[in-house]
């Protein structure tokens, strides 16, 4: 399992592996926001938590289709399904690798982009906390979507259509926590709900993903 994790991370860092693509996307979306809504500092500051959450979510989505597709093409996935390693574990490891290469950089980059959007000072800590808590859920749910669409040619668009509605609760609680934090309100409730969603999805979704993979590759 450790070998699988290391392999996935290495693949992502290699040229064309997609590492950094999500980050670049996140940056560009953030830069485009003031162009679309205008440069008023007050307005930017008030929408910053939501925009950053949405940007991180979309950046996460961007790298999902290569999460399993590459392994499907070169046959690794068939090996994983037939290997003695429990598939649920393998799927969890793949989600973890996706989070380390996509989610974690997004969490670390978010404060920098928060400066660009005039995020209130009180909000930085909560933004990072909510993203750190929420992005694992995004990776795990995304893995389920990737497992559903793995055998489909040009499944990228379908993947977005399937995964985005599943992201709704995570986005709501995550962005709400960041927003309350930025306004100086108490973000404990949405943060706890977000943590609940993350732990539940991390615990349960790999079973659904593995079941779907077995069905799809039978």
């Amino acid at each position: 399992m450790k070998a699988l994790l290391v392999r996935d991370i290495k693949l992502a860092f290699r040229a064309g592996g997609g590492f950094g693509l999500g980050l670049a996307f996140f940056l560009i979306v953030t830069v485009l926001v003031p162009f679309s809504v205008g440069p008023q500092q007050a307005l930017l500051g008030s929408i910053a938590p939501g925009v950053l959450w949405l940007g991180a979510l979309l950046a996460c989505l961007l790298s999902l289709d290569r999460l399993l597709a590459l392994d499907f093409e070169d046959g690794t996935l068939d090996l994983l399904v037939t290997s003695p390693l429990p598939l649920e574990g393998a799927v969890s490891v793949k989600a973890l690798a996706h989070w380390i290469t996509t989610g974690l950089p997004l969490v670390l980059a978010a404060p920098v982009l928060g400066v660009l959007l005039n995020l209130p000072p009180a909000g930085f800590g909560w933004l990072v906390a909510s993203l750190a808590l929420g992005t694992p859920a995004l990776s795990v749910i995304g893995t389920f979507g990737a497992a559903l669409t793995v055998g489909i040619k040009r499944g990228g668009l379908l993947l977005s259509l399937l995964v985005l509605p599943l992201y709704v609760p995570t986005l709501i609680f995550g962005a709400e926590a960041a927003r309350r934090g930025a306004l100086g309100l108490d973000p404990a409730t949405p943060l706890l709900m977000l943590a609940g969603i993350t732990f539940a999805t991390v615990g349960l979704m790999p079973f659904a993903s593995a079941a779907v993979l077995r069905m799809g590759l039978r």
């Binding site: 559903l148 489909i152 509605p165 709704v168 709501i172 949405p190 709900m193």
Partner: protein, 244 residues
């Protein structure tokens, strides 16, 4: 005698052929009479004027939009557990019907909302959850269309239906939380329907709800038959090989 004998496509088709004429007539009767009764036979509401007549479309459609998903959830579960093809085909057949019901509920709601709340759309928890439900229908139907192997498609869409149901419920609560967090006290008194209306409006409304329910049943039975025939056609073609 058990209900499972209707999992046999031939038995299902013969039963469905017997029941359908009755269903269609009953559905047509209830919908037409209910709507005419509601449209011509009920007074205007003192607060909402004649817009109250929209309730006869809005509430039944919303009711069936949710029930359709619920039915899909049950039939998907039956497919996953007992592998009856008719069951999963019924889920496939119900999805577009449920989606149209969702659209009707959203459209009539928007038209109703314009004069009453002064806006076509508000990010009220109820409205938002319906929009999310619509997205789930879209995803479910798109997944069916995308996968070529019918049994794999049935498996994957069933799992999506199960997972989607969990997330739909989660979203419902998340959305409620989110909006209350934003605008304390913005409530929508009329959107609750049902229990709050007086008898004059209630009986035609019940008639319409029954009518929409029967119409849904008739449509699903018919569409399931269509799916069975399509599946059988494909199977015969495949067996005959290249010469057909």
């Amino acid at each position: 005698m058990s209900i499972w004998q209707y999992a046999n496509p031939v038995k299902f088709l013969s039963l469905s052929a017997k029941v359908q004429p009755v269903l269609w007539v009953a559905a047509g009767f209830c919908v037409v009479v209910g709507l005419i009764w509601g449209f011509f036979g009920t007074p205007d509401d003192f607060r909402q004027g004649s817009t109250v007549k929209i309730i006869y479309l809005h509430v039944p459609a919303a009711l069936m939009a949710i029930n359709a998903w619920f039915m899909m959830l049950i039939t998907s579960l039956i497919w996953l557990v007992r592998r009856h093809h008719v069951s999963v085909l019924a889920a496939k057949a119900a999805a577009p019907v449920g989606m149209v019901m969702t659209v009707i509920a959203l459209v009539t709601g928007a038209i109703w909302g314009q004069p009453m709340w002064g806006t076509w759309w508000a990010w009220d928890p109820r409205l938002t959850s319906f929009l999310i439900l619509f997205l789930f229908y879209l995803g479910y139907i798109a997944l069916w269309e995308a996968i070529e192997d019918p049994d794999t498609a049935a498996d994957l869409t069933s799992v999506l239906c199960l997972v989607g149901s969990v997330f739909a419920v989660l979203s419902r609560y998340a959305v409620q939380f989110w909006n209350q967090g934003l605008h304390q006290g913005t409530s929508v008194p009329v959107a609750t329907g049902g229990r709050t209306v007086s008898d004059v409006f209630f009986y035609p409304l019940v008639m319409c709800m029954v009518g929409f329910g029967l119409l849904f049943l008739a449509l699903v039975l018919y569409r399931t038959g269509t799916e069975i025939r399509l599946r059988r056609t494909a199977a015969l073609r495949a067996r005959a090989g290249g010469n057909v």
